[in-house]
C-alpha cells in the first residue's frame, strides 16, 4: 500500500515539465472530444441533424430524446442492471473476502491449490467459455434468467478480487491476529471484527471495480438472455439502435442515461477506486 510519505512529485515541482504538460493535454483532447460529442449530440434536435456541424451545440438543444428513452422501458432495464450488479458484487465480495482470509491466514495444501487455481484463472480468457456456459445454463433451465448473468459474473470476478483482497489482508499486522487469538476470538469473529473492518478500502475498491464490470457487461446478456423483461442496460443500447434507427441523438441519449448512475458513483467513489486499485496491481 502507500508507503513513502514524500513522493517524486515534490521534487518535480520546482522544474515544470512542459513536454509532459503538452502530452497530457493532447491526451485530454483525445478523451474529451468523443465524450463531448456524445453529450451535445444527445440534446440535438433530430431535424436537421444530418446537415449540421456536429461539433457546435445546436441553438435549439432540448431534452426530447431523453424523454423518448425514458418512455422506452428504460427503468425496467435500469432495474435489471441494478439487480444483477448488486447481487453479483455482494456475493463476490463476500465469498472472496472469506477466501482471501483463508489464503493469507492458513497454509493448507487445499488453500494453496485454490489460490493457484485462481491465479491460473487470471491467465485464461474466461469469456471464451461462452458457448459451454450457454449449453450448461440452458440445460439447467437458467437460460434467459437474471441468474444466468449473475452466476458466471461472480465466478469470473473471483480471481482478481481474491488477489487484491489477499494482498490487502497480508498487510494487516500479524500481531493483531495473535492478540485476538490469545483473547480466544474465533476465526469467524476475527473475519467480521478484524479483517472486514480493516480491509474496507480494498473492499470498496473491488466492489466498485466489479460493479463496473457487471454493469457494463455485454457478452453475457447478449448470449444468455433473450426477453426484453430480462434486458440490461448495455444490451438495451444495442436494441435501441434498431428501435431508434437513424435517430442518433436518441441512441446517444440512451448512452448518457445508462452511464449516469456509474458517473455519480465515480464522482463520489473515485478516490477509493483509484487508491485501492493500486493495492492489488502495483505490488
Amino acid at each position: 500500500m502507500t508507503t513513502a510519505a514524500t513522493r517524486r512529485g515534490s521534487s518535480a515541482r520546482h522544474r515544470p515539465n512542459v513536454l509532459a504538460g503538452v502530452g497530457g493535454f493532447v491526451w485530454l483532447a483525445i478523451i474529451i472530444i468523443p465524450i463531448y460529442y456524445i453529450v451535445i449530440t444527445s440534446v440535438r434536435p433530430q431535424a436537421g441533424f444530418f446537415s449540421s456541424n456536429q461539433l457546435i451545440p445546436a441553438a435549439d438543444s432540448n431534452l426530447d430524446q431523453y424523454a423518448l428513452v425514458l418512455q422506452s422501458d428504460f427503468f425496467l432495464y435500469l432495474a435489471n442492471s441494478v439487480i444483477i450488479t448488486v447481487i453479483s458484487v455482494v456475493v463476490t465480495v463476500l465469498v472472496c473476502i472469506m477466501a482471501a482470509y483463508a489464503i493469507v491466514r492458513s497454509n493448507t495444501r487445499f488453500v494453496r491449490a485454490t489460490f493457484g487455481l485462481f491465479l491460473l484463472g487470471l491467465a485464461i480468457p474466461l469469456q471464451a467459455t461462452i458457448i459451454p456456459l450457454f449449453y450448461m445454463l440452458s440445460k439447467a433451465g437458467l437460460y434467459d434468467t437474471l441468474a444466468a448473468l449473475i452466476l458466471p459474473s461472480i465466478a469470473f470476478a473471483i480471481p482478481l478480487t481474491v488477489l487484491i483482497l489477499a494482498n490487502f489482508i497480508r498487510d494487516i499486522p500479524k500481531e493483531l491476529f495473535e492478540s485476538m487469538k490469545v483473547d480466544g476470538t474465533s476465526n469467524w469473529r476475527m473475519l467480521f471484527s478484524l479483517v472486514i473492518p480493516l480491509s474496507r478500502p480494498a473492499i470498496v475498491t473491488v466492489g466498485l471495480y466489479n460493479a463496473l464490470g457487471v454493469w457494463n457487461g455485454f457478452l453475457f446478456p447478449l448470449i444468455l438472455t433473450q426477453s426484453p423483461d430480462k434486458r440490461v442496460l448495455p444490451l438495451s443500447l444495442w436494441t435501441f439502435q434498431g428501435q431508434f434507427s437513424v435517430n442518433v441523438p436518441a441512441v446517444l441519449a440512451a448512452v448518457v442515461l445508462s452511464t449516469l448512475p456509474v458517473f455519480v458513483l465515480y464522482v463520489f467513489g473515485r478516490r477509493q477506486l483509484v487508491s485501492g486499485m493500486t493495492a492489488g496491481f502495483s505490488k
Binding site: 440452458s138 437460460y143 441468474a147 436494441t239 434507427s245 437513424v246
Partner: protein, 444 residues
C-alpha cells in the same frame, strides 16, 4: 512465509466447529445459488400468456401491433404478448432461444433452411390439422414454403416481399437520367450521378445480406434459376457455374466504377441508414426488400409522395434469365413452439388460424401498400395504392420467385455465403476464389 507450528490432538469441540464451518460454507453457497435463481427466474417459461416476437419496422406499427391489440381485447383468455426486434438482432437471438427451449410461443421465420432444422429437432408443432381449413385462402406457392415432408409447420403471416429497385426521382432528374432498364444503363448512369455529387447506389453492406440481393438478381439474370437450383441440390462444384462467375465479375465492375455509396461496408440496415441515404438524397438508387416501403412511409412520408420511384431489377443483355424473375421473401411465417405450454399453444394456434389474415389484417396490410399472399384480392390491391399494385403485378408476372438464398440454404452455408460475398464486394477475393470457397461448403 510464516512458519506454522503444528499441534496435534485436536479437541472434539474444535473438530466439530470445523465441521460446522464446512457445513456453513456449503450452505452459504447453495443458499446464494438458490436466492439468485429465485430472485430472477420467477417469470420464466410458465407465463400464462402466449408470446410472439416480430420484427421492428413498418409492419409492426401498421399491421401486427394493431391486430394483436384487437385480438387480445376480443379474446381475453387467449392473450398474446408481443416483442419486436431489429432484423439482424432477431436472427442471432431466435436460434439460441429455440435451442435453449425458451423461445416465444410463436416463432417468426422465413421458412427455408431454418424451418427445416426446427422441424428436424422437433422444436415446432405440426399444424397440418389446424390449418386445413385456412389453407385454401393463401397463394399455394407461398403456403407451400411452410410445408416440410408433407406436413405444415409454418403459416404465412406477412406480405409478399420481393426485392425492389428503388430510386430518388429528384436525384435522377438532377443527373438528367431515367431509371435504368438494363445493366448497361446502370454502368452508363454511374459517372453521370457521380458528376452531380451523388452516390449512384445506397447499399447496407455492413449488414451483408443486402449485398446478397445484387448477387441473387445478377445470377438469375445472367444464368437463370438453374444455377442456384444446382447449389440447393448440393451438386458438387455448382458454385463454379460460369453464370455465377460472370455475375460476380459484374458486381466487382460496379464496385470499381464507384457504383456504391462511399463507405457502404459500414452502412447498416438495422439502423435503416441505407434507406436514409436514399431519402436524404445522398444516394440515387437502392436495391432493397419491399418491406422498406413501410420504413420510407414512417420516416419520410413526404418523400414517398413526391420523390420515391420503384421498379424491377434491370435486364442483362444476352443473359439466360427471364427479366421478369424476382427474388425475395415469399412471406414471413409463424410457427408454434413445441416447448410452450398447452394453453400457450392453444392461444397461438387460435391466433394463427383466426387472427392472422382475418379481414382486418388483410385490409391493414393492403392499406399500408403491402401485398398479402391471399387469393382473389386483385381489386382490393389496386384500390390500396400504386406500390402494392406494382408488387402484386411483378409477383403475378414472375415466372420464378426465388427465395432469398441466405434463408433457403442451411445456416452454415448461408453464413459462409455472406462472409465470402462481403469479401467479394470489398475486392478481397476474386470471383474465382469466391466460387472455390463456396464449393467447399456444399454439403455442410
Amino acid at each position: 512465509m510464516k512458519l506454522h507450528s503444528t499441534r496435534d490432538g485436536a479437541g472434539l469441540s474444535r473438530r466439530t466447529r470445523r465441521l460446522t464451518n464446512a457445513v456453513l460454507a456449503i450452505g452459504a453457497v447453495s443458499l446464494l445459488l438458490g436466492v439468485t435463481a429465485c430472485s430472477s427466474s420467477g417469470s420464466t417459461g410458465g407465463g400464462a400468456n402466449a408470446s410472439l416476437w416480430g420484427l421492428t419496422g413498418g409492419d409492426q406499427d401498421q399491421v401486427e401491433a394493431p391486430s394483436l391489440k384487437e385480438w387480445n381485447a376480443a379474446n381475453p383468455k387467449l392473450k398474446i404478448d408481443s416483442n419486436y426486434f431489429a432484423n439482424d438482432a432477431y436472427k442471432t437471438k431466435i436460434r439460441t432461444a429455440v435451442g435453449a427451449g425458451s423461445s416465444p410461443t410463436i416463432i417468426y421465420s422465413w421458412a427455408g433452411g431454418t424451418l427445416n432444422s426446427y422441424v428436424k429437432a422437433g422444436k415446432v408443432v405440426d399444424l397440418t390439422a389446424a390449418t386445413n381449413g385456412i389453407k385454401s385462402k393463401f397463394l399455394p406457392s407461398v403456403f407451400g414454403q411452410g410445408v416440410v415432408d408433407g406436413k405444415t409447420y409454418a403459416v404465412p403471416m406477412n406480405a409478399v416481399t420481393p426485392i425492389m429497385f428503388y430510386y430518388n426521382k429528384k436525384v435522377l432528374a438532377k443527373a438528367n437520367i431515367d431509371a435504368p432498364k438494363t445493366w448497361d444503363d446502370i454502368l452508363a448512369d454511374v459517372p453521370k450521378l457521380k458528376a452531380v455529387g451523388v452516390a449512384p447506389f445506397s447499399l447496407a453492406g455492413g449488414s451483408k445480406w443486402p449485398e446478397l440481393m445484387w448477387e441473387e438478381y445478377l445470377v438469375d439474370r445472367v444464368a437463370g434459376p438453374d444455377a442456384f437450383n444446382a447449389v440447393m441440390a448440393g451438386k458438387a462444384g455448382s458454385w463454379s457455374d460460369p453464370g455465377i462467375i460472370q455475375a460476380n465479375t459484374m458486381i466487382q465492375q460496379l464496385v470499381d466504377a464507384g457504383g456504391f455509396v462511399k463507405g457502404f461496408s459500414s452502412v447498416t440496415a438495422d439502423s435503416n441508414a441505407d434507406v436514409a441515404l436514399l431519402y436524404t438524397g445522398k444516394a440515387a438508387m437502392m436495391l432493397q426488400g419491399a418491406w422498406v416501403y413501410g420504413t420510407f412511409n414512417t420516416q419520410a412520408a413526404a418523400f414517398v409522395k413526391s420523390g420515391l420511384g420503384y421498379t424491377t431489377f434491370p435486364a442483362v443483355d444476352g443473359g439466360k434469365g427471364d427479366p421478369n424473375d424476382i427474388v425475395g421473401n415469399p412471406s414471413g411465417y409463424f410457427s408454434v413452439s413445441s416447448a410452450a405450454t398447452k394453453a400457450q399453444q392453444k392461444a397461438a394456434i387460435a391466433y394463427l388460424t383466426k387472427g392472422v389474415f382475418d379481414k382486418a389484417y388483410t385490409d391493414r396490410m393492403i392499406k399500408s401498400s403491402q401485398v398479402p399472399p391471399i387469393q382473389g384480392i386483385d381489386s382490393q390491391i389496386s384500390a390500396g395504392g400504386d406500390f402494392g399494385t406494382s408488387v402484386y403485378n411483378l409477383t403475378k408476372a414472375a415466372p420464378n420467385f426465388q427465395m432469398s438464398w441466405d434463408q433457403a440454404l442451411p445456416p452454415a452455408q448461408a453464413t459462409a455465403l455472406l462472409t465470402n460475398l462481403d469479401q467479394l464486394f470489398n475486392k478481397q477475393i476474386t470471383p474465382q476464389q469466391f466460387s472455390d470457397n463456396m464449393n467447399k461448403t456444399i454439403g455442410q
